[in-house]
Amino acid sequence: MAEKKKINLNRVPIPKQEPSVRSKNFNEVALGYSEEQAVEEANRCIECKKLGCKEGCPVNVDIPEFIVAVRDGDMPEAVRIFKSKNSLPGICGRVCPQETQCEMTCNLAKKGAPIAIGRLERYVADWERAHPEAAEKQKEKPIPNGKKIAVIGSGPAGLTCAADLAKLGYEVTIFEALHARGGVLMYGIPEFRMPKAIVQGEVDYVKSLGVEIKLDWVIGRIATVDELLGNGYDATFLAPGAGAPMFLNIPGENLSGIYSANEFLTRTNLMKAYLFPKYDTPLKVGKRVAVFGGGNVAMDASRCALRLGAEEVYIIYRRSIVEMPARLEERENAEEEGVIFKLLTNPSRFIGDEQGKVKAVELYEMELGEPDESGRRRPIQKPGSEFIMEVDTAIPALGTRPNPIIPSTTKGLAVTKWGTIQTDEASGRISRDRIWCGGDMATGAATVISAMGAGKRAAADIDAYLRG
């Protein structure tokens, strides 16, 4: 390790598109470091003996090693170090909530200036994409071990599990219900945060390991999990995510003009409604849009609505800013772009016009009471505080739960009251032999990196199990 370095607390900021410009396009908001900026940031790492950073990463990326490679300008080495633990650097560098993971536990975080690990990761991934010739030489293909694995879902959990098993010599097939590969990364997270070409590039890397991906295969319909196991697959990893939307369950919610965030984002991102009529899928966005909820999904939906031409976009959240679950960075981005936050406010009903289209929402004010089970102060309605707000589009963004198709078509799955599959976190094992589970299906809506961590642990356990 290097001798003790002078600590530099000036994090290199990441260039971004101007708010007034970016709120009108779907191009990426953050522009990424230049080589000089990346090296400068990498130089700040003090190469600690006791590593904080690595502990905070659910897949244990060798953080200081790859940072040193960046500092020394040895990008192929940085790529190699990173990919030995994580097959999806361009994705994690962009959407990992670093501030609560590796960057929170970085030893410089106490001083308020953790190393910008995510931004460096993103830099390394982008460098690799720009230099395909210098990219990691394909290691020799592992010797096939003759065992076949079926992975359900091509989101981060499924892709990671598939990649790890392929590297160990398994013949892996991913079955994906949609026509696109990548799960939420493709249908949920918008282009301006997670460019789809980058997702596809990283999926291609997984494919290059020998993984086959079958699209348009809804497991539970075209084949059940039991049929896969009976048709030559030695094990199955369930990673279908948690994609079923929740609604507010208040009167008027089925009026036309009211979309679940999932529908709104799927039309926008997966189906590219922002390019209608060049692309066929339409999406009606009015002048005044209300998004209900305070998570990342609400931020994404509101920012898409702005970009689709809405004049006023409101985030309506029943607690205060302190309890808001969205990442700080995304909240700031949304505010800079002009999204208006209406806090401590909750809807009671939607009001429609003669044609059955939403025209207004009734809201009431809330105040915070005692903390509830989640430890957050419980919002309670202020009596007599009702008021009407005109809106022409409304988007409940209240979270999602697992889709019941697989649990209802697979025998003997122990399911929790939240609809998730009861799963041993450390191994991914469930109530049935030869079936593993991970990602949002096991935990409920969580993060990309936690889904990847689950995919990795399951791959290791499947390998241990099948080798006996």
Partner: protein, 275 residues
């Protein structure tokens, strides 16, 4: 993959395709549907499966060219492949011994209705079939349906063939004790049928066709209100009890994109497929 093996024009703007999709065919039951996407820029849209041949590995689709996607699909020829075919989706129709079953199909839905009626007939139900269309030239699957029906009626809106309108159905209900009614067709027809059967207390199952996106339960676009409860037609249906459906809501939700659909059609007429 998904190669069109047979293409027929059944009537003006009504086409039939037999598509090679052996895995889907093996799992198809009457009442299932598929979702298609026909180009990289295309939308996902549902069509009911009108038949499946497991030995040939084909599924049959019959569709009406009403807007951009279906018109573009209509230009496909035998030998062409369809980019995405997802299925079988939804729940199959309930096929059971009901005694006398009234099967009513409107427009293109006479074809998937034939699939359902055949299954009901095969297990010994007494099948009374009514098919309807706006005008006689748009009637399809007459012979096929007649051959699986014990009683067969035709209705046209203008009376150009068979009965005029659907009021005669009351006579069928007066003369027979019907165990179950099954209707597939345009929403207005499903609603009319449900209103006719309601006073008779005949359980009436209708196949609803709300707008859909993923058709796997992930977006809620297809939500309908049945018996006061919100259901996702793609996973909870598409077959529902017609006496419980909120028709007004369904109709208004289906009109959400009318102007956009026209824009898409115009754009298509001017520029063609564009890719």
């Amino acid at each position: 993959m998904n190669k069109i093996l047979v293409k027929k024009e059944l009537a003006a703007k009504i086409k039939l395709f037999d598509i090679h999709a052996p895995e889907i065919a093996a799992k198809t039951k009457p009442g299932h549907f598929v979702v298609l996407r026909i180009s990289e820029r295309g939308e996902r849209f549902p069509l009911t499966i009108a038949g499946a041949d497991t030995s040939e590995g084909t599924i049959r689709l019959v569709f009406n060219e009403v807007g951009k996607s279906t018109r573009e699909l209509g230009c496909f020829s035998e030998g062409d492949e369809i980019l995405d075919v997802v299925g079988p989706l939804g729940n199959p129709c309930e096929i059971d011994s009901f005694g006398n079953v009234l099967c009513i199909g409107g427009g293109v839905f006479a074809a998937p209705l034939h699939f359902v009626a055949s299954a009901l007939h095969r297990i010994g139900n007494n099948v009374i079939t009514v098919i309807g269309a706006r005008i006689s030239d748009l009637l399809i699957f007459e012979d096929e349906l007649e051959s699986v029906s014990d009683e067969f009626h035709i209705s046209t809106d203008d009376g150009s063939k068979g009965h005029k309108g659907l009021t005669f159905v009351k006579e069928i209900l007066d003369q027979n004790s019907i165990g179950r009614a099954i209707a597939m067709g345009p929403v207005a027809m499903l609603k009319a049928v449900s209103e006719i059967t309601k006073p008779y207390g005949i359980k009436t199952m209708v196949t609803l066709t709300p707008l859909m996106v993923d058709a796997t339960g992930m977006c809620g676009c297809c939500r309908v209100s049945v018996g006061g409860e919100t259901k996702f037609a793609c996973v909870d249906g598409p077959e529902f009890d017609g006496h419980q459906v909120d028709w007004e809501l369904l109709t208004s939700r289906m009109r959400t994109y009318l102007t956009d659909e026209r824009t898409a059609s115009l754009f298509y007429e001017r520029l063609g497929r564009g890719d």
